[in-house]
Every structure is written in structure tokens, then in C-alpha cells.
Homo-oligomer: 368 residues x 4
Amino acid sequence: MSMNTFGHLFRVTTWGESHGPALGATVDGCPPGVEITEEMLQVWLDQRKPGQNKFTTQRREPDAVKILSGVFEGKTTGTSVQLMIENTDQRSKDYSEISQKFRPGHADITYWQKYGIRDYRGGGRSSARETAARVAAGGLARAALDHLAPGIQIKGYMVQMGPRRMDRTRFDWDVIDTNPFWCPDAVTAEDWAEYLDGLRKSGDSVGAVIEVTARGVPAGLGAPVYGKLDTDLAAAMMSINAVKAVEIGDGMAAAELTGTDNADEIRMGPDGPVYGSNHAGGILGGISTGQEIVTRFAVKPTSSILNTRKTITIDGQDTEIVTKGRHDPCVGIRAVPVGEAMMACVILDHLLLHRGQIGDAGGKIGPV
Amino acid sequence: MSMNTFGHLFRVTTWGESHGPALGATVDGCPPGVEITEEMLQVWLDQRKPGQNKFTTQRREPDAVKILSGVFEGKTTGTSVQLMIENTDQRSKDYSEISQKFRPGHADITYWQKYGIRDYRGGGRSSARETAARVAAGGLARAALDHLAPGIQIKGYMVQMGPRRMDRTRFDWDVIDTNPFWCPDAVTAEDWAEYLDGLRKSGDSVGAVIEVTARGVPAGLGAPVYGKLDTDLAAAMMSINAVKAVEIGDGMAAAELTGTDNADEIRMGPDGPVYGSNHAGGILGGISTGQEIVTRFAVKPTSSILNTRKTITIDGQDTEIVTKGRHDPCVGIRAVPVGEAMMACVILDHLLLHRGQIGDAGGKIGPV
Amino acid sequence: MSMNTFGHLFRVTTWGESHGPALGATVDGCPPGVEITEEMLQVWLDQRKPGQNKFTTQRREPDAVKILSGVFEGKTTGTSVQLMIENTDQRSKDYSEISQKFRPGHADITYWQKYGIRDYRGGGRSSARETAARVAAGGLARAALDHLAPGIQIKGYMVQMGPRRMDRTRFDWDVIDTNPFWCPDAVTAEDWAEYLDGLRKSGDSVGAVIEVTARGVPAGLGAPVYGKLDTDLAAAMMSINAVKAVEIGDGMAAAELTGTDNADEIRMGPDGPVYGSNHAGGILGGISTGQEIVTRFAVKPTSSILNTRKTITIDGQDTEIVTKGRHDPCVGIRAVPVGEAMMACVILDHLLLHRGQIGDAGGKIGPV
Amino acid sequence: MSMNTFGHLFRVTTWGESHGPALGATVDGCPPGVEITEEMLQVWLDQRKPGQNKFTTQRREPDAVKILSGVFEGKTTGTSVQLMIENTDQRSKDYSEISQKFRPGHADITYWQKYGIRDYRGGGRSSARETAARVAAGGLARAALDHLAPGIQIKGYMVQMGPRRMDRTRFDWDVIDTNPFWCPDAVTAEDWAEYLDGLRKSGDSVGAVIEVTARGVPAGLGAPVYGKLDTDLAAAMMSINAVKAVEIGDGMAAAELTGTDNADEIRMGPDGPVYGSNHAGGILGGISTGQEIVTRFAVKPTSSILNTRKTITIDGQDTEIVTKGRHDPCVGIRAVPVGEAMMACVILDHLLLHRGQIGDAGGKIGPV
């Protein structure tokens, strides 16, 4: 019902367009007593903000987040938290063309068909700027997780750019933050840099696959049917702009397995169950197993490109369009911190739901 | 919040376990005046019911649906509709083993860890029987769509079994209903029959990929951010048992495209916009374009297999298990009508949402 | 959105009409491990069921509740609980008059204007029978409260019948269950018996005021703005058929007080804060204080009466109507257990919400 | 679930404390194409803002509302609308006393007990300032109603101050806006002025009863059970700070009536059904009749008074407190525009819900 809200107990409602005065997130249901400052949130926003290198849009936004409510003396009070980011770099520009033509691959035409009105100065709510609000909310979710369940680590990275997949055998957590693509393999990162530079110069763009994992999530979060942890992860990731697919664990490849191969065998370890593999991506029957939670999503190529495409005008005339402007050649890059933010929000939400409905009723495994 | 509910305005809450007296769906928000009978619903349930051929479980359930409320003289009244299916084929059986051991790939262990109690006589809410309630609700959604927006056609079919993909060049709508796999290609279907028979005899199982399309859906359904049509489709499909991935349009393959290739070009046709391709799967910015809506989902192999797997007991002892019983070697087969049902529910829900928030405010394309 | 649902984490969706095969409640979010049997629920249903004495409708329904899901070996499993009550006493009857005329005070006319269809054989969803499902759900809520927070006592009683108010100076908890009106004063009860007998014989009916209190509710349940404990109590009570007003604490009389008189003074007792009065009805700023929670609601007189009233037909003709049949002369009597059930559901819901968002973060009062 | 949200399709989430940088309302689900400007909203905010006369708090806030999103070229776009009001008059002040003591009648103690943290500089979310956000959202709801269903008139007024009720025989709509109490009778208004002046000088306060009516609401809005129009009105009004009771139509007085007197008789008029009375307050079975919708609510006296009251400290010590500061002697006065705003939001919400689920399926009355 809430078209701009996600979450059940930890509820995030985002607002704002790319070319309005500001955008933000209204966060309801945050637990009280969580230490949070604007500086702590800014760390995450800086990861997502544009203009960081030549592979992201040259629009220059400081993306400075302000906490307008729900925090007192550095701690959340349990009331609704307003996180606002002002838009500053809105160049005056001639919108006469895009106000009359629909850009292929963009939501221009569907906005018009749905609402009968659209803010043609940018992507409106479909602009990648909307994701800044998610990253802010995700920063708050991370702080709340640190407060309630210390030790959960959420990390996103890119595993595929266009047709070029990373080499999994060289996966290194420590490499992720050392290249502009959040790639866990330095060799792949160099290859991508060259590849993307070529695409950028040709005015084209390319898609990507992002993987987000969460380690340290306790067993028992989620529910069997529609309140599944993976249902909410799928919705959260699919709600990110330009995402066209979501996988949990083996994802599409699970279809190719036999039941014998797919069943993650279990043995007893000193601290609880230990699994021999993780085809399930840490979720069985919608509920976390305690293993690493693994999700991937595919981001389509940026639709704003310099190549000419056929389209129509609002008056129904056939025409052509070239989308000029400052655009990401691979918007998937900036989707990495967004995917992390969504993961943080979903896990916190399910942690709160579990506390609410179940409390400490969960079963133990081991000698009584 | 509602762990057993999906939908916003057309809300379906399912209830019931595989080994209880009954299961069903409580449907809230169905429009009034929709012609519906138990016979109309039964048509869809019969597609999903077990024991249809040697490739589905031999549990024999008539899956007869009863309408207990919300319908008067063959029409919905606008109040909540209760659809109940009684369980009849519950063989008495020795549960001593599975009450103490966790079956790998099943939710036994996570149910225990979450709730501290579980109905060990079957899969509980994670049983494929739960999907009978979805199919019943989907049948009601189809009838409501026929009433409000005649001409929408929803069809599911299997496009991959294990590693074997169908040959898309032989795609034939009319073939789908002529083989036990809902495969749109008769040659592939024969191949699958042989392949699955071998797996079944060996006591193993295999995964599958299902595609569901909806034709005739008007442009304008959905919303830009979290209320996206594809967000809700992703959640709906991921909420089906054993589903590990969901794709919209090109899905994972979208990551491999360039922006030039991915942008579905538009020209004006006699009845409105016409697209040169459908990489987007009929959804741009979360809103339907009027093209065919295309979604796919991967179903993991049935976890109940005759091969021995390592596991642990509730007391934390290492052990082994073989899951005997009457099981589907490829549970993906029976997921086809379930995927159709979810598609019907999501489209109806968004049709109602659109009527509610937007009414007829949508924009027209063409000469004024 | 859910027109037939109430509650946030403990969610109750009722279904069924007075003249269909059955009605019931689908309860989602019940904590696991709660001991519950059909017999335990039946105790509460028997309090509400018709035909108990000459002051309630002579329709004879056993109102036997069946648990169809969510309970295993006498305990809730944490999944959705289906509570079904079959309708048995549906006399065949001539509906030709009421199918064409709208009964004043009933929802006949508004159902027709809203839905364009109505089940004219009874009150549909507005029948007092719908409240049987609430009482069943309330019984489950009580059991869950006993499990999670033992010591909470919820009690409803009638404090006014028509213009006749009970004498508060003779309030005796032990008298409540000893008379057919749940009146805490035996003298008043006798007066009411005589008064109502006269009304019943004349074919008329009368309204009532019901008070429901909850003792032993911990401080801290609720939230400051829209998630107030009193907001949800107001909604819950107003949602009962025929209720026209809801009061918390002093209610309407609070308007007459000065701030000096209204402020419940606080002093420190051995076990925490002690209040000198309870004008607030146990709720300050939407959050429970630990005092007795007090709510009252007014029930209008039964609209089915033997006196002739002017009305119109579905064809727009002026006419008259007399509502024959077996009706309660004071439907408020049977509203007492319904009010208790709603109180139990709301308190449980807020207990779960509090556990979810807050956990044990609440502040203590006293020397550190 | 959303503790700071109300509404189903037209959803309002408020945020902000009395002593933070700003407060506001995030409005989701507003229909597109609604003409709205900051000036149009300001008209309503100016009615509620403090410092208008000697009977309201002397805190001077311009309460200037800014539209930060969801509006383009003077019209709503259908996306989330952010309405922000900056706090400007926050005098520096010594909070040492109220940081340690709980003010009786205020939520200080329950905030502490619930959250373990509170912003002691003011009422937090329970401050009357929160209602400014409601009034802004209500202004948007009014504009949307004017756009979708022109002719609906919503008006609030005070009918009782302390024990002094207005004389209903002198009710005059045109008088309401001519006195500081929104009293429909000039004679009563003069009496109240004198009465309240005395209370104000003595440092005391008093409660009030507000009535809000809506004329021109079409028949058919609402639903029979929990989605009742009156359920949502009761919740909306009870959610306003300091409200302790809500009545629909005759309210508490309905309890005193017989069924014969209470049944609003119907005859056919030239334009549809005409009712001989309106005991029901325009709502039958939870659904609007087309008559005037009438609701009343009681506001308790302002808890901030100059008289000494007994209380305790956070350390559990008995003490006394006097609440100094700039406070309303009758906060009910400023609740009038708030009640109107809530009425506007609820009616718009149900109008959208009705469009969504029902569309034009409603029944007509009259010759076919």
C-alpha cells in the first residue's frame, strides 16, 4: 500500500526527486538508544556519492545528510528519524527535448502513462539519487544492528561487469575497497577499468552483477511463507533502480542441480550446526540458518547513452533521441553500497520481527 | 508484518499445514460482483494437484476447494472470501526418525531454531501443499481480472529442467498443455520425460526454471520505487517454496548488455506505442509498459531424496538420513500453476491500487 | 488496507456471514509455544453465544470452535491459526421483504450503495455473529498473554443500560459473573432485568455502555503518536457492531476537568510509581503507565425491532417495515465478551510490538 | 506497525520533536494532478499556529511549511510529498528540573519507562507541535478532495469548554470563524472568553469538546468490519494529543435510546434517500450514508499548569513540580483545525480505497 515504503517494523519511506530541493528517508521503528551521528551516516553516503572517479557521473553532489528528528544527544529516541539530503548541483539546462520525448529504457513513458504528469527534468523518483536516501537509512540500520547484535558484517561487491565475470578463485575481501568497482579481485578490476573506459568513451554503458553477503546473522530470522527472509531480500533488491534479477545462494544455477548435490549436509560443530556447503545461501524455508547470507542482483546498463535511439514524442510522433548529460557508464558500481544498505535494513527488520513474535522461544540443538 | 499474507488491496492470507485437518486462503479486498463458483476454482486446483502422472508425488489428494464466505448467489459480495481445502490423504506413519533428525535442504532445522516447536509430520507451512491455497486464491484473482479488465492472459510453462533448456525456436503456446511438464516444445518434453524418469528411479531429484507471462496488461500499473510491479512480482515468486531466483525480462542476462542493446526502442503504432524489443520484460521504472510481462524463477531440486545424506539430531549428534515417502522428483512441475496464480494476484492487486490512487488520471500519447 | 483485519504483529482477519456455512478468524503472528485447546477457546465463546437467557436472541447456535491450523500437540507453532465456527441454525425463511426493503438503523442500504450486491438473508458481515470470531481470537490472545506476561486480568461489564446507570459505590468484581448483564452491582442488575423485560415485550430495544478494564499491564506499551495504545483501543472498540463512542479513562468527562484536577499525581511506592488517581485510564501519551487500563464504549440499541418504521425499497418507493425474527433486546449484553476479546488482542499486539522495537531498553525508576 | 503513520492508501507519516530543527509529514499515495502550493497549505497552518491571541501559547512560531518533493509546477505528481516545518522559537532554557522530574499528566514518565531515553526539552513527539504536520497533510488532503470530489465541506468547532456547553439552538456556521474558540454561538464564545481568562490567570487549564462534521460525502465509503469509516475516524481523533474520547453521531447518548427512537427513518427524495434524523452520524455498518458525518472528541485539560503537583524524580524520590512556560490554557482550541485535518485525511483515504476495491460497482436506488 505504501508505494514509497519498505520494511515491517523498521520502516523506511523515501521521498524526493533528483531535481527538487531535497530528498530523504523517514525511518520509523528504529530501536531507542542506538548511537548515531551525521558523520557516521556520511561514511556510507560518501561511498555512493557521484563524482568519485571517472567511472561515475560527474554530477557533483556533496550528499550531506542531516538528521532532523528522532535523535537526542547522539542516540536514537525510538521515534521517527528524518534523514534529509539537499540537492545542490542542479544545473540549469534546456529541458525542451526530454519534456516532449520519451527516453528508451527510462521510465519517462510509463510515468506519463500512469500519472498524466511527470517532472521531466530528470528521472524523478527513478533517479539513482533516490538511492542516497536508502544508503542513509541503511547506515542507521547498521548502527542499530551493531547495537543489538554486534558482529554482523555486511559487504557488497561486483562480480560481473557486462559479460566479464570476476575470477572467484582470486576472491579477496581485502581487495574490495581498493578499486573503484568494489571488485574482490585486483586483476579483474584492472580488466574492467580498461573495458569500461572504452565503453564510456564510445558513449555507451553496460550492466553488472552485484553480490551482497551478510556474515554473523543468527539462525532463526525470517518466516516460512510470505514473511520469508529471502522474499524480503528479493523485494528489497528488485526495488533498486535498474535491477532485473535477484538470486539467493545458488540462484538460477540451483535449477541445474540434483537434490543430492543441492542438499547442504550438516554435522555438529563445537558451537552448533556446521554445514558442508551453502547452496541455500544461508536461508532454508525462508529462515536464516546461521550461515553466510548470499544474494546477487543484476543491474541493467544505464539507459542514458550517447547513441541515437528511436522513440516517440508525447504527441505520438516517431522521432530519435540522444541522452546527453553526466551519466554513469556502469550504474551498477554505485549500486554496491545501495545493496548493502538494503541488506542491513532487511536483516534489522527481521531481527526486530523475531524479537517481537518469538522472543527467546527458539529451540536449542545439543544435549539437554 | 503479516507473515502469512501477500498483497496490498487484494490481500491473501494462507493458513494450514500438510498434516492438519485443512488448509486454505482468506482473501480480503476482492471486488464485488465477480462471478465465481467452486467449479471455476477447481479447474486451477486440478492442474496443481498431486498424483496426476508418474512425475508428481503419488500422495492422492482431491484438493477440493470450498467457498465458505464472501460469495452470494455465485458472485463475490466484496467481503472476505474463505477458500478451504481439506486434507484427506494423511497416511499413518512412523515419524520417530524425522522427529529427531533434521532433513538437509528442508526447513526442519530452521523451524526448530526459530520456533522451538515444529510439526514434524511433514513440511508444515513449507510443504508444497500450502501452494494449493495460493492456486485457489489465484483462481479468484483471475475471475476478478476477467471481470474488471477482460483480455489479460496469464500463462506459465517450464523452460529448463536441470541443465536441459528448452529450444526457444520451437516455442508453441498450444503445446504447453499437452505434456506433463507444461513445456512449450514437444521435443524437449520428450527429452525431459526420459531424463526425469531416470532421476526418479535413482531416487534423486532435479531443479527447474519456470517462466510466467502476462499478456494484455494495460500500461501504467506499478509505482516507481518500492511499490514497483517487479518488486511485488519478485517477492511473490520468491515466496514460493524452493524458489531461489527471480528474473524480470532479460533478468541476469541484462548485466551482459550494453545500454545501446538494452534500450527497447519505441515507435508509434495505430493503437499506441510499439516496442522493437522487450528486454525490460514489460516493466520500466516499476510500471507496466503494456508489453508482455515476463518473469522467470528457478526452483531448486526437491530436498526429499532416497540418497543418504549426513545430518544431525536434535540432540546434536552426527547421523545420516534418507527421506522416504511419496515425493516429486521435480517439484518445479507443480510450481507452474502456482507461478501463474501469483502473477494473477499481483496484477489484480496493482490494478486495484492503480484505480485507487490514480483512477483515470493517466496520460494519453498522441495528437491532442 | 485490510478491511477485515486488525492488529499489527498479532493480526486477526475475520471472515464469514451470518447465513453462510461458517465463519472464523485467521490469526497471524501468534507466538509459538502457547498452550491452547478448542476447549479453552470454547469457554469464552460460550459466554457470548446466543440463547443463554431470555435477554439474548433465541437463535440457537452451539458456536463450537475448531482449530484447523497452527497448533500441534496442544501448543501453537508460530504459524497462522485458523479458528472456524460453523453456522448451524439457519432457519429457512421468507426473505422476499427484506431483500427489497432497507431496514432503518441497519447497514442494508449502505451495503447496497457500496457494493451493488448484498446477502439479504441477514446482516452479512455486520451481523453480531461476526463477533464470535473475535471472541475466539481473543481467547487465543488471552492464552498468549498468560504465556508471556502472566497476571494480566481483563474484565468487561455493563455500567449502563439505556438511561439507567449502575451505582458505582456498589461495584463488586465478584458480582459480574452472577447476572445475565455482567453488571458489577446486583441491585442494578435486578432493576435492569425488569426494565429490559418490559422493553422486550413491547418489541423495542435499548442501548448500553460497556466498560472493559485490564489490570497488570506493564508500563511502556504503546507509542506516542498514531501507534498509541489508546488509538488502537479506540479503533478496536469502535469496530464492534453498533458501537458509537469510545472513552479512555475519564473519557468525555475529561473535558470538564481543570488541569489541576486531571493530573494524576505520582509518588514512589515500594514497587515503583504509584498514582493518586487514574483520570488517564492508565495511558499517558499513548503509552501504558502500569495502572489499570480503562475503556468504555456505547452500544446503540438493536435496530431490529417490532415497531413499524418508515423506509424505502430498492426501487426507491416509500414504504414501512417491521423487523421480525429472533433478536437481542439489548445487544450490548453480548458485546461484553467481545470488548474483552478486543482488549486482549490489543494488549498482546502491543506487548509483541514493544518486544520487537524496544526489547528491554526501557528505563528504570529508582536509585541507580 | 508504523507507529508514526496513519492511513491506508493516503498515508501520512509524521516526524519531528518540539525542540529539534524541524518537523513534518511524509505523505504517500496522494493522487497526481492535485493543484497545491505552499500558500494553500499555509492557510490551514495559520489557523493552528500559536500566539494568535491570549488564549493560546505565546511561543511564536511562523509554522511556515515547505514542500520538498512530490509537486511539480504546482501539481502533485503522485509520488511522496514531503511537507517540512522548521522550528524557530526554541528559547534557551534551564532544563535541569524537568530532565529529572516527571510532569504529572505528561508522557514524561511513560517515555522513560518505554524507551529508556527521552528528549526532556519538551513534549517530544507528544508536543502539540506535532499536530502542525497533521494540519499540513490535512491541507493536502483537502486539495485532493476538491480535485476528486468537489463539494465536500469539512468544518470543526468547539461545543464545550470545561463544564460549559454551547447553546445548540443558536448554532450558526457563520459565527465559527469569528471568535478565538471556533464556537458556533457568539454568546457562548463571550462566556468562554471570560471563563478561560480567569483560569489562565490562575495558572490552571481546562478541557474541551470539539465537533467535526463533513458535508457532501458520498454514500458508500467505508467497510463493514475493521475497515469501518468510523473505526478510522475514532483512531484518527484518538491519536490527537490529549484526546480521551471519540463519539460518532449520538455517541455516548446512543446508549440511552430505544431502537424505535434510534432508527433513522428513510424516505425517497428527488435525489435519493432522505433520512428523518441522523442519530447514526452519517455512518451505518461502517459505511457512509450520504448524510452529514458527525464526530466529536474530548480533549483533556493542558497538563502544563502553574499549580504545584506531587511527582517523583527519575531516581525514585518523591518531590513536587510546577510546569512553567508558555502554554495553552485550553489546548482544545488549537485541536479544532487538527480535527478537521484528520477528518479530511480519513475521508480522502476511504475515497481512494473505495475507488480501488469497488470502482463504480455500487448500487443505485430507484426505478430501473
